[in-house]
Symmetry: C2
Subunit: 151 residues, 2 copies
């Protein structure tokens, strides 16, 4: 077997209203790949978010992608596909590790199913939640903005 130089770690998410919780998640994801990790991030398309969460993100997909790619920890950020499926993602990116956040149980199940069905060797790195910081989620940020206006 030829040893690959890089360990490809794949993470995904919406990354709407980028905050420190996102960055810490991505940093932990990359750490899971060790010293030679390359972190590829799939940023969900507006249409996919709308389908899955029933609401559109605040920031448009191109800006969410570009902002994620401007983070030091990220090697490459790409937009997802309209007909998003974990199998397709695995096929195209060929990750060694898929990082799954504390609020991504759905994705974790899909990855587990894909591993079973396709008999691929792939590690799942479960990333914990960080010390509950103020405003570490996009919905908390939205709530705070609305509260500050209604005051």
């Amino acid at each position: 077997m030829v040893k690959k130089y890089k360990t490809i770690v794949l993470a995904s998410g919406t990354f709407d209203l980028l905050h420190l919780g996102h960055v810490r998640f991505l940093e932990e994801a990359k750490k899971a790949g060790g010293e030679n990790a390359e972190l590829v991030v799939i940023v969900a398309r507006d249409s996919t978010v709308k389908k899955r969460k029933r609401k559109k993100p605040i920031m448009p997909e191109d800006q969410r992608r570009a902002l994620v790619e401007s983070l030091r920890v990220v090697d490459e950020a790409i937009l997802g596909w309209e007909d998003f499926s974990i199998e397709k993602v695995i096929e195209r990116i060929k990750p060694d590790i898929i990082a799954v956040g504390h609020d991504q149980d759905g994705i974790e199940k899909e990855v587990q199913n894909a591993i079973k069905e396709k008999k691929i060797s792939l590690e799942i790195a479960k990333i914990g939640r960080f010390g509950k910081q103020e405003l570490d989620s996009s919905s908390k940020i939205v709530r705070k903005i609305i509260e500050s206006v209604n005051k």
Copy 2:
């Protein structure tokens, strides 16, 4: 004169609700320092923002600072001082260039005064506004969030 290895570029701002406009501003600021530029960013304290803009930022200062420092283009991000003054900043950071954004006329004037009074050699790099992108300012983002809730 001993030639310094690095060209220190200083940029400053609130960087509330980090967006692509911020990143492009910082990228252009660093470019102004050429190949050996080191970009130091002063992130305004909550108290300073409150005093200057009469409203507190949405995101707390520690998180704004940490998020700015997680950008690839930024070498160091530090919080401002309670008794903020451009003279003090210049004294401590000793920048070669101060980058000034399209909406930072006030800071530009203060820098010009400091240059005159202290007779220091310091370049001001005026950074233009970028192709008007959707949601390239924190207040536009706040407006969009409020609109989306009121719908």
